[in-house]
Amino acid sequence: MYKYDHYDQAMVDARVDEFRDQTNRRLAGELTEDQFKPLRLMNGLYLQLHAYMLRVAIPYGTLNSEQMKMLGHIARKYDRGYGHFTTRQNIQYNWIKLEEAPDILADLATVEMHAIQTSGNCIRNISSDQFAGAAADEIADPRPWAELLRQWSSFHPEFSYLPRKFKIAVIASDEDRAAMRLHDIGIQLVHNDLGELGAKFFVGGGMGRTPMIGPEIRDFVPADELIHYAEACLRVYNRYGRRDNKYKARIKILVHELGAEEYTRQVEEEFAHMKTLGLNPPVAELERITGFFQDPEYDRTASDDLNLTDPDFRIWAQQNTHAHKQAGYAIATISLKPTGGIPGDASADQIDLMADLAKQYSFDELRVTHSQNIVLPYVRKSDLYALWQKLDEAGLAPPNLDLISDMIACPGLDYCSLANARSIPVAQKIGERFADIGRQKELGELKLKISGCINACGHHHAGHIGILGVDRKGTENYQLSLGGSAAEDVSLAKITGPGFDEDGIVDAVEKVTDVYLRDRSEGERFVDTYRRIGMAPFKEALYE
């Protein structure tokens, strides 16, 4: 894992001191809320429905057990005993006191963490594949590139006041586990015909009120020019992105209105200009960073044998573990989606336990997924059973990864001041309706995603089944959509028709899964069947 150098630490410490001073001035009445609001947002501190909410950055979703322990400590000392892992691989705390916020940031800084750029119109936390460095199918480890982008984008003077927020994802495999095409910039590391490493660039993806899939604008950017190319993409956006209308200010609107071809032409022009400036590509820095992401000291004699005689363990191991690049090891995903639970929430005790288990079984490392789960990336197969037993004791072993109950859900109207409807109760009711794990496995891979408003933090546009909560004449109403995907088969879901009330939407989900079970062909997932047979049979089941 990357370790801060003295520059990193000094910048974060200085920001803590600065924010402490700003907070004191606000509490003393020297700053108005209008003056203070942009300052607190730059430090991830929102004012939400019930209290202040602090969003802490987890760069590319990677953290060690000491950092995870700190997240548990903050939940226990400053919040109400829990935290919420988000769809941007971060964590949010819902009950923060303004007067304690500087102390929290100071505590975070002791373990090389912060909340900088988790809000505001800047480049947000760089996200990546939660299996990075461990996946059997990656062509390179994307984390050094994500870290390089993190350093480049942190406090970047030119990009601190963009037209709107900006999100970048980096992956290095054909399987997209990071919703890469739905980011402002999606970067896929690839090899060219000569075997050289570089990156494919996709620009202008996003969800929100105007969902778009990012078009490919360059099929190969040489590795040592990746930062400059990203800079060129940002410069064109910063110059021409709309600042007069926040709903049309994201880069996806610019790319769409200019057309991908014209946007690309302008980026290439800017890129060519930048090359004449004689700025050194950061190859040396990349090499320094890459040194932090070496493989852990694997036990090269570890066996691939796995004793699956315990039936409950067998179900979990089959569903929640993935192939590892190192023989004898597996990637284990801890589902934060128990039946009737709140997707992404974990108690301080659970956070502590996951930290301890990472230390014991996963070379001290954890990952946060955009699906609001936790990954232990380096588990010896012979340790999986002991790991599962400890997780199961703590309620952390739902064997439901990628099944219908492994839902993404935003906090919705229970916590969020932007929401129009509650998301979590709907997620809980669907989870209870489909509680039987045999039934879930019969349905197979099914990505269900719920948002409580059009901003789409719950990624409903990208759900095989998507649910959007709306305010219809003052009451909660839920629109159903089908056919989305955030993976390599990326697509945007389509609305089925009129919405449903809270109980009706649960029935509606059941009806569309019944259509799938009735009409599917051998080997088809829900989304495959939808793509083959179209919307009509589903609409018929829902509305006739």
Partner: protein, 104 residues
């Protein structure tokens, strides 16, 4: 009727104007600000007794003053999915607008 709400500057807690310079965590103790809400909020914001304040249309119910809109009812009740953290679980959330109380 019009209630006044906002957040406590230091703690972020949801609070309701309870008359004069007084604010309460409980909507049941909220007072009707009538048409004078803007002036009261300007005074209270300046005194830093409330932050991010606004006027809430409400009605009288058998449970006392009740915000009309679901969002304000959730603010008054606390998260409906964590009743252990709630302020008041008696507040009706579903179908807030048509909950049946008389609009004053």
């Amino acid at each position: 009727m019009n209630l006044l709400t906002g957040n406590d500057l230091k703690t972020g807690d949801v609070i309701w104007w309870a008359g004069g310079e007084s604010w309460s965590r409980h909507v049941a103790e909220a007072e009707d600000a009538g048409e004078g809400g803007d002036a009261i909020l300007a005074r209270e914001e300046a005194a830093r007794r409330v932050n991010a304040s606004y006027i809430v249309p409400a009605k009288i119910s058998d449970k006392g003053p009740m915000p009309l809109h679901i969002k304000d009812r959730v603010r008054a009740s606390g998260p409906t999915v964590r009743t252990d953290l709630a302020i008041n679980t008696d507040i009706p959330i579903v179908n807030a607008v048509t909950a049946g109380e008389t609009h004053v």
